[in-house]
Amino acid sequence: MTSPLLEVRDLSCQFSDRGRTVHALNGVSFSVQAGETVGLVGESGCGKSTLARCIVGLLVPSEGRLLFAGEQYSGWPERRLRRLRQEVQLVFQDPATALNPSWTARRLIMEPLHLHGTPDRDRRLAQVLDEVELPAAILDRRPDQLSGGQRQRVAIARAIGPRPRFIVLDEPTASVDMSIRASLLRLLRKLQQEEGLTYLFISHDLSTVRHIADRLLVMYLGRVVEEGPTESVFDAPTHVYTRVLLSSIPIPDPAVRRRRLPVLGEPPSPTEIPSGCPFRPRCPLATGECEQPQPYLEVASGHRAACRLARSAVRVRAKAGPLVDGR
């Protein structure tokens, strides 16, 4: 088997905030194969954006390793990282603030081409514009003269310009209307097919993720608590947090009444990480067992979860043969 395009190994990242230590990432490990779209979901403060910034080298992790195409790049000096960024691009959540407001779309899209020494830049510019389905007329406009959807397309054009292999998309559709969201998702999928791109798609919107991701990572308090093929996770969520999250999504269909799992209390603060399972204080099904660290167990092919319920799911499977959902 070929080595994954991106490997994240035991990544931790801490900050100091007004005398307190924020544990943004606490031992995150996963890998992304070339050509796939991995969805990363979790609520605000779970470390999604910190992880995105570590991956593209905008933040230096406190511990752990990052590998791109089998080569370790965490710890590289800035000059070397610049070469990596041609291959690994980031699209930010809100293009209204991520794009320089005084630059025209032309300059915004050209900048990364200059930075990475892309040959034949004018041709590449025209090509990229065509790929993101923007008319040439927008090239002389500034971000505030563009619609939300157009701005995000400019941001995507900036990212794909230098022909990267891997793009981290941090909530790329959070700030646009529904119809625009659908057309952006279609565009991202088309680009992936045409350019052979690999995506890490970060979102708190599980409906969107279900439609774009091949595999899913669920983060809670700086840890991946469950991962697996998207359909497997949606069909048989194992970690109680994943179940809570999935049961909280409103379904746009008046004929459907969902049964929700309640959580206890407010979302946690990353300054105080509980021992054992991080979700334990809010979990409606927690027992004394959860005070111990939970092993990351495979409950189905490629589907793993770190929850005491994963253990019973595995036990049941061992007895009964095929996986039985632990509900």
Binding site: S179, R181, S183, S207, L245, I249, D253, V256, R258, P267
Partner: protein
Amino acid sequence: MTAPLAAVEDLSVGFEGAPRPVLDGVSLEIPGEGWTGLVGESGSGKSLTALSLLGLLPSGARVLGGRVLMGGEDLLALPPEQMRRFRGTRIGMIFQSPRSALNPLMTAGDQIARAVRRRSDGAHAEREALELLRRVRIPDPELRAAAYPHQLSGGMCQRVLIAMMLAVRPRLLIADEPTTGLDVTVQSEILDLVQALQEETGMAVLLISHDLGIVAEHCRQVAVMFGGRVVETAPADVLFREPRHPYTAELMATLLRADRPVDVALAAGAGRAGEVTGSGCVYAARCHHTEAACVAQAVLLEAAGPGHAVACRRHRELTLLSVDEKAGVARTEVRR
């Protein structure tokens, strides 16, 4: 049918220098009890419609025609002082950014106590404020009562506002994107609280949202806005199953739902981009079914069934596929 609690009648609002009105003959009825949904994309005029109900049109906005009726009075004609009283007692509102709706210089407890005093003599306002904080399930209410808005999370600020609404018990609560920006688990809890408040007081809720998921879950009647007009209004189950306006159909086709692995949205895609021109249909430039007459002739809301009205000349002849037919998937209950 009983008379509505409030009604927007043929309301048009324009901004100085703008080529066309931002609200263009909007009519909307809010029944006395239960949830009414108002959906549409940004810039469609849904928030402005809500603000007109509150008499809070932004500066520069001019009412070009129409009325906003509640309790037999035209709210747009009320003197400011009277309108303020109306807002404090009969119409309440919760917003998208709850922190900015709170006074940053007052503690949460004091703000709720002030709302309590609007309703009663307020002898025990502080104690009542604590009780209300408890009822909106804020942990450590004593601690939070003494906290300022910046010391509370977005979800907690929204709970504080709901506690104020519990104190005021308005007849109509306008909830403008009340959970946008909140995490899904918090969103569910906030909406549950509003639901409990609604059931307890029997008030009417006008929910403005671009999230059709929460609209489907809570609203009985839904109005769809586009380009400053109401293009369709229908009972929720009818609207989601058999949209009759091409824009509503587009909305339904771009829905992503988490309970099924279907791919309708990405296949169907969005309508074309286009500017609104002329007196005809506001959706004509984006519609796949436009004819010359759609652009040339004015379109009015026409009855299409019980509680169902559509502003499309061709609504009787067009067959707009529902989401289900496109997906070819049987409707099933979610089990989770």
